[in-house]
Amino acid sequence: MKSQSSPIIISCRNLTKSYYKGDTVVTPLENLDLDLEKGRFLALMGPSGSGKTTLLNIIAGIDSPTSGSITINNQEISRMSRSQLTRWRGKSIGYIFQLYHLIPVLTAYENVELPLLIQKISRSEREKRVLNVLELVGLEDRMSHFPRQLSGGQEQRVAIARALVTDPMILVADEPTGDLDAASAQNILSLLRQLGHDLHKTIVMVTHDVKAASYADLTLHLEKGKLIESSPL
């Protein structure tokens, strides 16, 4: 996963995650090493329980490793406190959920604007950025619609716009097409690949779908918490 042209943006060393489930110790990740260059589109694949979502969550800073280290853009996030991680996530990560997780009481525009409000960006700057990303995802004509008034594909586009609006270093997507029909899924994946390419974003996507993984630059296969195969395209 290294090339000589781009710097490493995600670096995991001996990454282990374990937790108790009743009396049993579950280890979704075990001594995992990973380096990912800036601007790459990585697909994480593997069976259920292989640790791919755990790895994604650790990269996104919403979960922490039991041991090992994870460095993102030369910042070791595994040592950050919960509040430091929250601030860091707001600026550095754009998260795209399988079930979109849009705020139902806010319009598409307001949903996209929300991360900027949290970061106390000025009103004019917010407006400029929100309109820009809504245009990028092709939803400028749906900005005053509430999530319930949008289709699944449109909701996911709003979620992508929300993830992009803070101009994060990394976009992480957890099964972004898992809840969509085939046509919508194809549109979303094309959009992700195009955005990654045009905006030079690093994208990490978890998927079960081989077809979805084919949109990525490279695919990692995990099994029982270990990296078993990588397949660059």
Partner: protein, 385 residues
């Protein structure tokens, strides 16, 4: 921080639960405000009764109750002629010889039915001593006549028209014409029937009077009366400032006030727990949404603040509704107790207490639901159903 529109619109997400919480808050605030209005009413009634310049001379050993007190009929005259510090009105000493009697009264229209009534047997001098008593209609009563305070009808539980001038009341089988009505600035005397002292002595078969109420020129002249009472052991007198007497009466009602507060608080606490359940149900369903908000960079403090804003809006609406009802309704409620009638008071103090209670409920009501929602890790919250 999250925008205010987020908090406002969230109130409309589960309208039935929001309405339940507003109603719960309305009831709790109303209970607390009612308890406060009750206590302020009874306290105000007892505290305004009593002139700073007035002294009540009672029978020794009966300082706590005019009802039980007995002094010789001649004692007020002796006091009037012996103490120079007594205020003089038209060159006559302001000493009121009085008989206080709690009995029954019947109306001339319904002679067989009896209602409780408080009688005060007085002379003309009573008006020189009780300076807050104003005859609003009619005149001071002579023999076989009475005048009634403006709260007598409420104390007895009859209509105001039953005690209009020209009507009569029956006391111990004798009919007394109502010839006057008076008011007394919210004092307990407004619940009394005033009549000629000799009539009351006869009707109550008493040979002694209850007390002598004396108006002094200066409040500090109380010592002169006190000294006189100590010197004239033969008269068996005891002097007490009128305000101190009613203050001690106020202390007598302290357990009732506490009981009212306790009842209101216990019901309120039970209601707050009910409110917590409703709030929990309304907030816990947003657990995944809150986790998602944390993922996009929203801090837990900002989320708690947002939930608190929702809770404050709900409780302030409840407070506003209950305080509007309380302001319009409670002051019209008159409550009679053994020695008088008071009305419930809704003043600035009560309003502040109402809003303060709403604020406390807003905070207390969301601590547990917010904790339950935000304590778990983001990952487990995102996975929750």
């Amino acid at each position: 921080m999250l925008p205010l529109s987020y908090s406002l619109r969230n109130l409309g997400r589960f309208p039935w639960k929001t309405l339940q919480m507003v109603l719960g808050s309305t009831i709790v605030v109303f209970l607390i405000v009612s308890a406060s209005a009750f206590n302020r009413g009874i306290t105000a009634c007892l505290s305004v009764t009593g002139d700073l310049n007035n002294v009540i001379v009672l029978g020794a050993g009966s300082e706590e109750s005019i009802q039980r007190s007995e002094i010789a009929r001649i004692a007020p005259d002796i006091l009037a002629s012996s103490i120079r510090e007594i205020r003089r009105v038209l060159d006559k000493p302001a000493v009121s010889s009085e008989v206080y009697y709690m009995g029954m009264a019947a109306l001339s229209d319904a002679p067989k039915k009896n209602w409780p009534a408080i009688y005060r047997g007085v002379t003309w001098n009573a008006l020189n001593v009780h300076r807050n008593i104003v005859i609003t209609e009619g005149r001071f009563p002579g023999p076989s006549e009475v005048m009634v305070g403006r709260q007598v009808a409420r104390y007895m539980g009859v209509k105001d028209s039953d005690l209009a001038i020209g009507k009569s009341i029956l006391f111990e089988g004798i009919s007394y014409s109502i010839v006057g009505q008076f008011q007394g600035e919210g004092t307990m005397m407004e619940a009394e029937v005033w009549m000629d002292i000799n009539d009351l002595l006869t009707a109550s078969k008493r040979e002694t009077v209850s007390c002598a109420t004396i108006s002094l020129s200066r409040p500090q002249d109380f010592d002169a009366i006190s000294l006189f009472c100590m010197q004239r052991l033969d008269l068996e007198l005891s002097a007490i400032r009128e305000q101190a007497y009613y203050a001690s009466l106020s202390n007598f009602y302290q357990p009732i006030r506490l009981a009212v507060w306790l009842t209101a608080l216990l019901i309120s606490i039970a209601s707050v727990f009910g409110g917590i359940n409703t709030a929990y149900a309304a907030i816990i369903v947003r657990r995944r949404e809150m986790a998602a908000l944390q993922v996009i960079g929203c801090s837990r403090v900002a989320l708690i603040f947002s939930i608190l804003v929702e809770s404050l809006i709900i409780n302030l609406i409840g407070a506003f509704v209950s305080l509007s009802i309380a302001s319009a309704w409670l002051p019209s409620i008159h409550i009679s107790f053994s020695t008088g009638v008071f009305h419930m008071i809704v003043d600035n103090h009560t309003l502040i207490l109402g809003f303060l209670s709403a604020g406390i409920m807003a905070v207390a009501g969301i601590i547990m639901p917010a904790w339950g929602c935000l304590k778990p890790t983001i990952v487990s919250s995102l996975r929750s159903t």
